[in-house]
Amino acid sequence: MTQLVIDRLSAAYGATPVLQDVDLTVERGEIVSVIGPSGSGKSTLLRVLVGLLLPVAGTVTVAGHKVDYRSRRDLRAVRDRIAIVFQQYNLFQNMTALRNVTIAPTVVKRRAPAEVTAEAETLLAKVGLADKTKSYPDQLSGGQQQRVAIARALALKPEVLLLDEVTSALDPELVGEVLDTIRLLAREGMTMLIVSHEMGFVREVADRVLFMADGRVVEVGRPKQIFDEPQAARTRDFVSRILRH
C-alpha cells in the first residue's frame, strides 16, 4: 500500500529555489534513503514534508489524503502521521529525557499522563536509555541525545519517520549506537525516509536510494544500482568521490 506520494514538489527560501519538481512514492514499510552533496535540498525536502517550510508548487499525498499545507487542520493531520528527527537532535533543553518524550502526547494529544509515561519508559528502554530517563539533554552524550530524539518521535506513533542526517553531528564513536537503533526500527517495518551520509549504512538498510543535486532528483533506484551502476554522470561522480574516502 502506498504511504506517501510526492508529486512535482518545489520549494524556495525567498527567491532562491531549493527544491524543484521532486517526485517520490514511498510504500508502507519501505525505507528510502536520500543522498547527495550538501546543499542539494535533502533536508529541505524533509522540512517541507512536516510543514516547516511551505511548498511553492506540487503536491504531497499522505495515506491517500492530499495535504494542503496552508490549512491548519491538514498541517496538524500530516504532523500526526509524519515525525521528524533532526540533525542537531533539537531536544528541549529545559526538560528531562522522559519529559521530552511525554510532552507532545500529553500536551498536544491530551492523552493520560500515566499511560504516556509508561509508554515513554518502554521507548527509552528500547533505544537503550532506561537508566537516563531523569537526565537533562546537556547531561547526555550526542548519541544518547539523538536516541532520546528518536524515542520522542516514536512516541507520536507516526506512520512515517523522517531522519535528517541524524549522525552528522555525532563524534565517530557514537554513530554506531544511533545506527543500531535505526536498524531496530527497520526490522520492525517502520516506513522511513533517511537523509544520510553514511553510505555503508544506506546500502545496508535502504530499499531504494534517491540521489539529489541542486534541488532536483537525479536518480532513484535500488542501492546496488545507485552505488554500483549509476546511470547519471552526477551520480557517478558523487558516488566515486564518496567511496574513495
Binding site: V50, G51, L52, R76, R79, D80, A83, I84, F86, Q88, N90, L91, F92, Q93, N94, M95, T96, I103, A104, V107, V108, K134, Y136, R152, L156
Partner: protein, 230 residues
C-alpha cells in the same frame, strides 16, 4: 556644622520619621506597581512581534514602533505628556496614578526589548521541534522557549527596574509624595538641605543597592552554565 548637629535631633523626630517612611513606601509602591504592569505589557509586545508566534505584520510593526518610540523619550517629558493627557481626557486620577502610568509605559518599552532578546537567545531548532510535534506557538512559548529564556530576561530587567526606582524621583515634579518630594517639604519647613537630601540619598541607596544585590544573586542562580536542580 554646629547648626547641623543641633538640627539632627529635631529632624529625626517621630512625626518626620512617619512622614519619610510614608514617602519611602510611595517610592517603592510606585516603582513596584509600575514595573509589574509595565513588564506584563512589554512581555505582550515581545510576544506580539515574535515571528514564530504571530505572523501578523501589523502587530509586529505596532510593537516595534511602541518600543522604539517610548524608550527614547526622557522620563520627565513622558511624565508631562501622561499628566496632560489625563487632564484633557477628563479622567479624575491621582498624581500617583499619573506617575505609575509613566513608570509602566517606560518599563513596557524596555521589558519588550529584554524579553525579545531572551526569546531570541533560544535556538530556532527548539521552535522547529515543537512545531513539528504540532505544538502551537503559544504552547511552545510556554513549555519550551520561556523556561529557557528567563535567565536572559530577568537580570537586565531587574537592573532596569532599579533605574526606574531612581527615575520615580522625577515624579516629585507633579507633587507625588515620594522621597524626593518629602525632602523638598522638609527643606521648606526650614531644615537644612544637606540633612534632607542627604537622608533621602541614603534611603534611595539602601533600596537600590539591595535590589541590585538581589539582581546579581539571581543572575548567578539563573546562570544556564550552572547545573539546574533536577
Amino acid at each position: 556644622m554646629d547648626r547641623l548637629l543641633e538640627e539632627i535631633p529635631r529632624f529625626f523626630n517621630y512625626y518626620n520619621m512617619i512622614f519619610i517612611g510614608q514617602a519611602f513606601f510611595y517610592t517603592t509602591a510606585m516603582s513596584f506597581i509600575g514595573c509589574t504592569v509595565g513588564f506584563a505589557a512589554g512581555f505582550g509586545l515581545a510576544v506580539m512581534r515574535h515571528e514564530r508566534i504571530f505572523r501578523s505584520l501589523v502587530l509586529r510593526l505596532l510593537a516595534i514602533t511602541y518600543t522604539e518610540i517610548f524608550r527614547r523619550i526622557p522620563f520627565l517629558v513622558k511624565l508631562m505628556v501622561v499628566f496632560f493627557a489625563f487632564q484633557l481626557s477628563g479622567l479624575e486620577v491621582s498624581m500617583f496614578t499619573v506617575a505609575v502610568t509613566t513608570v509602566a509605559l517606560s518599563a513596557a518599552a524596555f521589558a519588550s526589548e529584554n524579553v525579545r532578546a531572551g526569546l531570541e537567545s533560544v535556538h530556532d531548532n527548539q521552535w522547529d521541534a515543537a512545531e513539528a510535534m504540532n505544538m502551537g506557538g503559544l504552547t511552545a512559548l510556554r513549555r519550551v522557549v520561556l523556561p529557557q529564556s528567563w535567565p536572559v530576561i530577568i537580570p537586565p530587567s531587574m537592573t532596569y527596574s532599579v533605574g526606574l526606582v531612581k527615575s520615580t524621583s522625577i515624579a516629585s515634579q507633579i507633587g507625588v509624595l515620594e522621597l524626593t518630594y518629602a525632602a523638598k517639604v522638609m527643606t521648606n519647613k526650614g531644615f537644612s538641605a544637606f540633612l534632607c537630601y542627604g537622608t533621602i540619598l541614603v534611603l534611595y541607596f539602601v533600596l537600590c543597592f539591595s535590589l541590585n544585590r538581589f539582581a546579581a544573586w539571581l543572575e548567578t542562580r539563573l546562570d544556564p552554565t550552572r547545573h539546574r536542580p533536577a
